[in-house]
Symmetry: C2
Subunit: 325 residues, 2 copies
Amino acid sequence: MGYFIGVDLGGTNIKAGVVNPEGKTVEKLSIKTNAERPMEDIIADMGQIALDVTAACNLNISDISAIGVGSPGTPDNRSGVLVYATNLPFRMAPIRSVIGKMTGLPVYIDNDANCAAMAESVVGAAQGIADSVTITLGTGIGAGIIINHRIYSGFNQAGSEFGHTVLVSGGVLCSCGRKGCFESYGSATGLIRMTGEAAAQDSSSVLNRLIKEKNGKISAKTAFEAMREGDRTATDVVDRYLEYLADGLANVVNAFMPEVLVIGGGVCNEGDALLIPLLSKMEGKTFFGPGVRKTEVRLAKLGNGAGIVGAAMMAKACLEDGLSG
Amino acid sequence: MGYFIGVDLGGTNIKAGVVNPEGKTVEKLSIKTNAERPMEDIIADMGQIALDVTAACNLNISDISAIGVGSPGTPDNRSGVLVYATNLPFRMAPIRSVIGKMTGLPVYIDNDANCAAMAESVVGAAQGIADSVTITLGTGIGAGIIINHRIYSGFNQAGSEFGHTVLVSGGVLCSCGRKGCFESYGSATGLIRMTGEAAAQDSSSVLNRLIKEKNGKISAKTAFEAMREGDRTATDVVDRYLEYLADGLANVVNAFMPEVLVIGGGVCNEGDALLIPLLSKMEGKTFFGPGVRKTEVRLAKLGNGAGIVGAAMMAKACLEDGLSG
């Protein structure tokens, strides 16, 4: 088998890379998405960057076996149509037919969170593991389910939206319209909200000094930094955040029973300050009967490059399975 | 292919049936479990009832292709060992080897909630549907996941424990040790608890009269009955219960994106009084982008016999897949 191209469509950039069959990226390029353009122009640029990145590493298009595209929203890999994409002007976008015509290659499409999970499953923290789930804690919460080395996205290719499962019935209003979603409590955005609320309620907290130093900006690091300075209010915020996060991640485990649960995203840069209490809290929340093998929690290994690798490895899997692209 | 035997191991009864390849039960038997006995005696009885039910319909053991056993707890179908069973004295029980020796047949084992889902998927409410989830609302909440016509139970065969995903972080203590599980709010037990609390808080409620008429016994029907008499407090209880139930079921949808979500259990006997407001509440809680196909919610078609049929059809699927039994 030859090389694969992974295209990572984002709100800001379109990235593309040539990836070998082992999941190693040999060349990559990035261009601006300019998301205010008509979707036809963006799709044409996606096809062009695939051709450009191939040329950039002195390969011919005949050296490429297939193209994989990862995008936000709901790409339908059966029809090759991107049904819609969050924050992008895509509705029923004919990704496969357009890029297929431009390149003469099979084109497969899947959700970006699913592609990130595929990447962790092939060359990352869950390498060699048949059943894993990757949860990315960022502005939102991304969830990708891998079952028997393949992406599982439900009958409508729209899953898993585990970030939009309710954790706090009747709780904070989420961007999706529900109240109390896991995403509203376990994401960086959730932590930032809790940090701001706690700072407002305790004028003596170190949190207020740190926020002032950043010109009023609160980040997911703020509470952890104040905690390291011994601030009680910040310690409470981190503890409360980790309690929610542990509840949400234990929900993932109890629902899917993956062999490995991978967690990634900026919050995970806190390392042991996050992981040690998190694992301790999860211990009491996961559901394993006596003698039953337990899910292992690991930190994600791949960073921003996961989108390209995951899309390429998704395409490789589809080709191996004989799916039409 | 010949017939299949389904054995349904419960805390009170062991039921067994001969099932044809289309999922129709042609004969069945039931004996007491007598769960206080050593597990070896119970397993021997399970093998014997399989032989007995075969004889009862004038078949020979050579007419049977395989035996399927459904049980509570975590049966490991790879090893053929029932790792443990809730409320039964089973620890690492060698179901396959013992019943296999007694009958000379391949023996497959799976969880009872998974078998119920398999039955709904083959001959019940999700017949012909590749991806479905069956949720049973009883004393607890059972969840069975069917992906591509096969049971999905995770890497350790212990899933899905969707009943033990947290819906109300920090909420009511569940039998599993967690706080705020879906099971504690969406099960019949949850409804009964809410009914009792509401009755205690409002002495003028019709609930108190109904409970007195039943000698202090509250059932999952009590709140619905009082609601039909126009009682405001009972109407509030039902509304609150349905809100939790809708949250929990929408969580199932958003996590798994099944084509059909089947709901069963005694509470579903309330029919439209349950289903109409439930579907309306779920509408705002499920997560489908524009143009994305939606999950359909259906009431379970099979009752108590689902355990036998599901275990038999699980065995048929395992045999078709060439799994060693």
